[in-house]
Amino acid sequence: MPAKALTGASAQTIVLSILDRSDAYGYQIINRVRDLSSGEVEWAAGSLYPLLHRMKADGYVDSFWVERKGERRRRYYRITPKGQKALDKERREWMAVHRIFVQLWGIQPSLP
């Protein structure tokens, strides 16, 4: 059962992480999340776009329109330096939490 809601705490971090790898537009972000979770997490557009707008208003991301030949106009999002900083902080916190769970649940890290 794919979770449709953007779970508050993680959503912004996930978006920042995706944008940290490369700029993307909304549809791509949703697809990435679906792929990364093997189809288990399905975000609704109706919640993603307001989130992106809020992140933009907060200064974590920036947006720009790209028009390629034969394709429709798309609004890409890019992480800002402020967003980078926020992501670093988030990453440290998530890793700390991650370590806790790993030890608590006795999971062996498996190398790919």
Binding site: A45, G46, Y49, K56, R73, R75
Partner: protein
Amino acid sequence: MTTRAPFNLETALATWRRFVLSDRSISEDDADELEGHLRDEIEALVAQGHAAEDAFRKAVPGMGDYATIETAYRRVYWKKLRAERRALDEIGWRLSILGNYLKVALRTLRRQQGSTVIHVTGLAVGLACCLLMLLYVRDELSYDRFHENADRMYRLSAQLTFGDRTFQTLDLPGGLASDLVRDVPAALEAVRANTSPPKVRVQTEVHTYFEDGLLWSESSLFSVFSFPLLQGDPLTVLDRPHTVALSASTARRYFGGTDPVGRFLYLGTDATAFEITGVFKDVPHNSHLQFDLVASIVTEATAAERWEEERYVTYVLLEEDASRADVVQTLSRLGRRHSEAEVTYRLQPLTGIYLSDDPLSAEPPGHLRGNSTYLYLFSAIAVVVLLIACINYTNLATARSLRRAREVGIRKVVGAHQGQLIAQFLGESMLVCLGAGLLSLGLVALSLPTFNALTGKTLAVSSLGSGSLLPVLPAITVLVGLLAGSYPAFVLAAFRPMWVLKDARQGGGFSALRKGLVVFQFITSLLLIIATAIVQQQLAYTRGKPLGFDKEQVVLLKPAGALQQDQAAFATTIEELPGVVQAAYGQIPGVSWASLAYPEERAEDEKGIRTYITAVDYDFLPTLDVRLVAGRNLSPEHGADAQQAVLLNETAARAFGWEPQQAVDKTFRLANTPYEVVGVVQDYHFQSMKQRIEPLMMHLEGNNLYRTLAVRIRPENRASTLAALQTIWEQFIPDRPFTYAFLDEEVDAFYRAEATWERVLRYASALTMLIACLGLLGLVALMAAERTKEIGIRKVLGASVPGLVVLLSKEFVLLVGLAFAIAAPLAYLAMNRWLGDFAYRIAISWPVFLMAGLTALGVALLTVSYQSIKAALADPVETLRYE
């Protein structure tokens, strides 16, 4: 049935986009982005093999529902604006919309002048009533609250039990106050304060005055109560005998600007010198105790400390958290030490004195007493009138809303939100209320003199602006605006643009509520009309009922003991005047006191008969035309009459167990003195009609202490007779102002409260009727508008104008009928209770109800007919043209 057009993806996407864009917080770019997303999704689905329509229907829910997107975007909207530095533009845009609303509102109000006038006046009248009542209620509730210790102060009263009768009295032993403070730890201080009878003579070196507001009291009056002393020491000001304190205005009146302290006043008929030791600030009007001068009570020093003298009104200041029950108990023990009688003391909270429903028969002179019934009545009227005004506004505005359906439709189509529309219409309602609020202030200013005359108050418009009332008018205005405006606002905003633009009339669904509101108004009006009629009837009855004496053409002079030895000469001189028929001393109306009497057969320890006692002279019966039913009148020919002869009324004779004829020559004892009955008079109403006729005994006053001379005059040349009476008065009693009263007016004064009631009710019923008719007018206008086409078709099909008028009016007759069915029993119950106050009363009869019902119906029909005739006369060509 419409056939469905084939699915076109571009049309569907365009519609979807328009929906998304209808919110201002979503910009074109945002919509582009969302639309692009949707298209991507659809393309992916089509690639998987879905048909275009299918793909569209699958993809749209994934975008989240419209309302969620809208709220989500709106939440980040302002932040986004600020980030993009567009916030100022936005504010400017919003203001311009507001300007548009205001313009539209004013335009609508102007275009529909008639209904605007009705709206504003209706509301203004309601608000004005409310404000008046608020002023009244606030004033009534403010009594005695200005005292710093108000919540710890009490007035003492005693309940005395004689046999099976109990009396309440404020006249307490002089020694009680000091013993109380000494023996009851919780009692911090006590104040004795006795008011004097009216018209006490006060002389300065230059002038003579007659004062009503003389109080006998002690220094603690100024420390326990918050009556500030401007000059003099509050701790000692009245400690010495023969000292007096004046109010600031009295001091000014007597001495102009000069310092009064240390000067002398000469009080009473014997002109005893009193030294002025203090000046106090004028007593506020909202004090139950009113006085202009305070003389030291220790002047009567010996009496003041004795327990036998039971005539002191006593106030006590208790400790905080003191137990009243304990104090009362200790008091009763104190009382028992000094008196044989069964006495229960009571503590009456100071702030409760003015509005108390205490069974205490009367407040002493100088003690003001309010009327809590008025308080409730006035508050209720205020709320009801305001409520009705609100209801009318709601009705009229809803009716009007139909005419604005198109505006709402257009606004919605160009993107207005329901919330915005609600705000717009509520705003309009507020605007009307604001106008009404301002107008109501004017109305209050105009009606205050009448209102003051009606209620005996001295309220001022300016006090509306003072303290706690200041925010009230705006608050009420806003509240009423919200209350009255919200219903039409929500109804209007909920209009479906499709329907209204296609001219489908809406609003049938809430007509039951609207009718209910009109019924409620008529119930109120009917209640008030019936109440007014019954109060009027009862008053007419009490005024018209034979009193047992002739109250017409009788002038009452009240020398009140000032004549001493000249009493007989005074009466004789007056009787010699050509305009005078006869004169007699005697107390009428009202009777001063009652006591227990024992018929000769009964022993003292048996039950006595409580009998009112009044002193009359030989001419009393003929002068007042009181009939003798047995025996003889008191007569100077029987020398013994002066000592022991009495007349009884029939009720007294029966109470003693005698038939009137048998009573003659019987004897009874009263205060250990034997009296002999020489005659029995027909019962006459010596008290008000609220009381049954009680046993009464009439005797001669041996010590020339009659207080009232009743002079029967000839109806012609009243003015010259009165002038002659004045001349004689001034000759006999030069040191008192000539005062007189007419007996019929004095009798009427018994019902002054009821007469005020009647007047208040008359105004209130006229007012509610007026407002109810305004409401009805709105409802009819609404209905006529709703049924324009129906009427047109009926006319085309051959309906006659009278037939249509009946058709349109029928419903309202039913509404008034329903209101009547509810109001009549309510009115019956309420008025029956009110009539219970009167020992002699009318029976409530059906013509009153018939009259009220017909009045309401008549006025309603008159109101309705204007609109319904207009609607019935309308040319069907006009009304049906658009169809």
